[in-house]
Symmetry: C2
Subunit: 198 residues, 2 copies
């Protein structure tokens, strides 16, 4: 049976055109990708993982005046295709099914040389998250069954554009509304003059 993606929040963002921040140090996703899982063998071991595939081979830019995304040319060279294993992997089916599985430790970066195992994406490109379940086959010749022990699920509403700063004002606002604790700082105290005296 297909796992479910609790998706109210994703739908809200998807309507606006979800944007995910990527930074050099790595940024968590918001919304977080989470799934409710059904139909596993409670006693068997499974690995859960995610990866991200380009939606198309285009680069985008955001037109502020029209508040819309425009194609800005062909995609930049693909980034290293990394995967993120859910840190509880491997675990028994019973464990995974007990509650919603949340990928809140996953981080996105635009640093091609990232050394922290984060997912590397190109800013201004569109991505589709994918969710994979791997059954840990106890049989000796388990490689032979790799195909059948591997299942992939795609939730289209989780597509997004990677950005280094929110582009669409309404997405930023939605983000702030979704997490009331986020401070909206209005201004920064005047910084000292940079260096009139070297």
């Amino acid at each position: 049976r297909t796992p479910a993606q609790p998706s109210v929040r994703w739908d809200e963002f998807n309507q606006l055109g979800t944007e995910m921040i990527v930074t050099k140090a790595g940024r968590r996703m918001f919304p977080t990708f989470q799934v409710k899982i059904f139909g596993m063998d409670p006693m068997a071991d499974y690995m859960l993982l995610m990866d991200f595939v380009p939606v198309d081979d285009k680069r985008y830019r955001y037109a502020f005046h029209s508040s819309s995304w425009l194609v800005a040319g062909k995609a930049d060279p693909a980034t290293p295709g990394r995967v993120h294993y859910h840190p509880d992997s491997p675990a028994k089916g019973a464990q995974w099914m007990k509650q919603i599985v949340s990928f809140d430790k996953l981080k996105l970066t635009n640093n091609l040389l990232d050394d922290n195992g984060h997912i590397i994406l190109n800013s201004m490109h569109r991505y589709q998250p994918r969710f994979h379940v791997v059954y840990v086959d106890p049989r000796k010749d388990s490689e032979k069954y790799a195909e059948e022990n591997f299942k992939t699920f795609v939730f289209e509403e989780t597509r997004f554009t990677a950005v280094t700063a929110y582009q669409n004002h309404r997405v930023r606002q939605q983000r702030i509304n979704s997490a009331p604790f986020i401070a909206v700082r209005r201004s920064r105290p005047a910084s000292p003059p940079r260096s009139s005296l070297r």
Copy 2:
């Protein structure tokens, strides 16, 4: 092969007579109990857990003037004997052996009605932490082998007296020295008079 308890810090405290704070809400141990493990089957599953047994059947009190612990009578009725499973359990031997295993999530409480699964201890009593390794036997009739699949380790230097507030001044000082970040607040702002007006 016997696991090792990194023990420099434990020895320091043990010389003074280690005291562990217990609170109603639960308090972490300091020092933390941690072990380096050797000799597991890398591919097999193991559970790691701890429990605490009374060192004797006595109750103690601390004599400030002589800075020493005195026997204050027979032990209070024993507390429910709980165990604490390391939250990563079950996991493969390879995983456990990869690095030092730290029981830093374990909490001690004096609340007999505790509902958070914390370890319940009697204040002013002495305890010996114990560390257990359970091999998860894949055989059908695994109960029959319970004995051989279960190993217990005791590190005597980790004995302590449970207290609700540090008794020995030098233990308190040692604690503060061990964690430089701990604030030593000198005084509290005068509190408003309690209720001259009910």
